[in-house]
């Protein structure tokens, strides 16, 4: 489903170049629940932004569903992002002026979908994350865990090929974090949704089917989990 071949990413900081990704190659199959772990600054978020088409690699190739990504057309990139990728961020990033329902619907707005249909679909996904009774609430009227559930619904609403979650439990306490993790596992198991979870919490990583560890811009280890429940 995703294939990354020898991807490098450098940032120019003043006169020097910072090498953040140093030749990453990996493959993610359909229906995977993959954890990316690694120390702070190892390049996990950078990798995720690259996978999410928010960042262009300095070199290397990237294929989504067999299609090679070219970075010269904003319209094409935005459309792929809109249709194939769902983001979940550590800081939830809900739009403060919008209700939970409207927040979930944002990706659909950029597909030019009509409003009643957007609302209807958004409601379906709010139900899926058990937030339907908060549909009219704004982000500041919800707890962190609730906001993250809404964010998960937003990531799923467009029926993407893959959900990218960058430390989705990082801002939550252990119990609430676990609830989000349970939600991911359920979505993965019952609906076969492909999910990549970035974390530095080994307990979280252990709940994923596969783990990839990053150290200083390279993948050092990939392992299969003992199946847990």
């Amino acid at each position: 489903m995703l294939k990354i071949i020898d991807v490098h990413k450098n940032y120019a900081v003043g006169p020097t170049e910072v090498k953040v990704l140093k030749g990453i190659s990996m493959e993610v199959g359909k229906g995977e629940l993959l954890a990316v772990i690694g120390a702070s600054g190892s390049g996990k978020s950078t990798l995720m932004h690259m996978i999410g088409l928010l960042e262009q690699p300095t070199s290397g190739d990237y294929f989504i569903e067999g299609e090679k990504i070219s970075y010269d057309n904003d319209r094409v990139l935005s459309t792929i992002r809109n249709r194939k990728i769902g983001f979940v961020f550590q800081q939830y990033h809900l739009l403060p002026r919008l209700t939970a329902l409207d927040n979930v619907g944002v990706p659909l707005v950029y597909r030019g979908m009509r409003e009643p249909e957007i609302k209807e679909k958004s409601m379906v996904f709010l139900k899926k994350v058990e937030m339907e009774d908060r549909a009219r609430h704004r982000p500041n009227e919800m707890s962190g865990g609730q906001q993250q559930r809404v964010a998960v619904a937003r990531a799923l609403v467009g029926n993407p090929s893959i959900v990218l979650a960058d430390e989705p439990t990082g801002a939550l306490d252990t119990r609430t974090g676990q609830e989000i993790m349970n939600l991911f596992r359920k979505l993965n198991e019952e609906e076969g949704i492909t999910i990549i979870v970035i974390t530095h919490d080994h307990k979280i990583a252990a709940q994923c089917k596969r783990q990839v560890e990053m150290v200083d811009g390279v993948i050092v280890q990939s392992s299969e989990s003992r199946v847990q429940s």
Binding site: H49, G52, L54, E55, D74, R75, S78, T79, R81, N82, R83, F87, F89, H93, L95, R97, L98, V106, P107, V109, Y110, R111, G112, M113, R114, E115, R154, G158
Partner: protein, 389 residues
């Protein structure tokens, strides 16, 4: 559908930053207000000016004796003798002299005029009641009055002034008619509505200033002012030694009025444009702040699939919405100002629908023009940097 979502979003965002929105609006309101005000006042003035020519016709000229010439006078018989010569179909000499009437707090400045019967025809004066002054009234103390004079007499305790007497200076006149209201300015002598009019021969006997130095003529066809002037100059030079005259034709006056209108429009247009530029810069500033404050939102929207064009459209729509809101208030303001102007100058108020359309058009244009740069900034933000901010 994106458009609708964008408009909703624009309103949400503008409402959530009320103070800033209001501050940005002020400039636009003043700008659009002055543009609308100027166009409306312009059309009110023009309407008023042309109204007069519509009922009096444009084949009229006023001839004045040049001042400063002692000894040479325009004799009444010479003026009247012009009728039928050349193109002149009608002659109306007149004499004016101001008088204060009444006493204490009940006082009015009246225009005393001495005229011939032709004055009423030439100026298209319609009698409201009673009769006009005819040439049979020569040397007699009969008069007609204007509507404002009538109102004054009414309020001074004379409900129906016809038949009653009015004392002006050391003479007493009997009122025989009331004239209907006329619009003033242009070719018509000023003050007809607040006048007391007698026959010109009565005037030369009783008025303070007794010299006739103005007369109006109607000409058979349209002629240029210099040509008309040459004719009269020639005539009076022979009749009265060394007399010089100047001539104003209606056509000439319309031309100079049009020129004045253009100047007026240009001036107000300049003021309006400056206000709009200032307002537009205010809008641009507000939009730039809005973009900076919402970097995170922009980054997020990009992550969720918004194209650069979508972000650009969102902010341009926001700025157009802002300007249109200001535009609508400005349109009301401009119309209000022109209404006050019309009321104060007692002119007919009219709303030019073209100016309203212009107001909407200009507001939209300002919104697009000054919203473009901030919107472009927003669209070009690096999504990751924006998200991290």
């Amino acid at each position: 559908m994106i458009l609708k979502a964008n408009i909703t979003e624009a309103l949400r965002s503008l409402v959530s930053a009320k103070q800033r929105t209001i501050l940005a609006l002020i400039g636009i309101v003043i700008g659009i207000g002055s543009v609308i005000g100027m166009v409306s006042i312009g059309s009110i003035v023009q309407n008023e000016a042309l109204k007069q020519f519509k009922d009096m016709g444009v084949d009229i000229a006023t001839v004045r004796k040049d001042s400063g010439e002692k000894g040479s006078e325009m004799a009444l018989k010479d003026i009247l003798g012009l009728k039928g010569r050349g193109d002149v179909t009608e002659v109306a000499p007149y004499l004016t002299s101001g008088t204060e009437y009444g006493s204490g707090s009940k006082k009015m400045f009246m225009e005393q005029m001495g005229v011939t019967e032709s004055f009423f025809d030439l100026n298209k004066i319609v009698m409201k009641r009673g009769r006009r002054i005819t040439d049979l009234d020569a040397y007699r103390y009969f008069c007609v009055i204007g509507t404002e004079t009538e109102q004054f007499l009414n309020s001074a305790g004379t409900p129906d002034p016809i038949g009653s007497r009015i004392a002006l200076g050391d003479r007493i006149y009997t009122i025989v008619g009331v004239m209907g209201a006329v619009s003033e300015g242009g070719m018509r002598p000023y003050g007809i509505n607040r006048s007391v009019i007698t026959h010109i021969t009565t005037g030369t006997r009783s008025f303070q200033s007794k010299e006739i130095n103005t007369f109006m003529v109607r000409l058979a066809g349209l002629k240029a002012a210099p040509e008309v002037k040459a004719e009269f100059q020639d005539y009076f030079e022979k009749k009265s030694n060394g007399l010089r005259v100047s001539v104003n034709t209606a056509e000439e006056l319309i031309a100079s009025m049009k020129k004045q209108m253009q100047l007026f429009s240009l001036l107000l247009g300049a003021i309006g444009s400056i206000a709009l530029i200032v307002g537009g810069i205010g809008v641009m500033n507000v939009m730039l702040i809005s973009v900076t404050e919402r970097r995170k939102e922009i980054g997020l929207r990009r992550a969720l699939g918004a194209q650069q064009m979508d972000i650009q459209a969102q902010f341009i729509i926001e700025s157009v919405t802002l300007c249109l809101a200001g535009g609508i208030i400005g349109i009301f303001l401009g119309i209000g100002v022109s209404l006050v102007f019309a009321k104060l100058s007692k002119w007919e108020f009219l709303v030019s629908y073209g100016s309203i359309a212009l107001g909407f058009g200009v507001a939209t244009a300002v919104g697009i023009f000054f919203g473009y740069y901030p919107a472009r900034q927003a669209a070009r933000l690096d999504p990751i940097k924006a998200l991290r901010s």
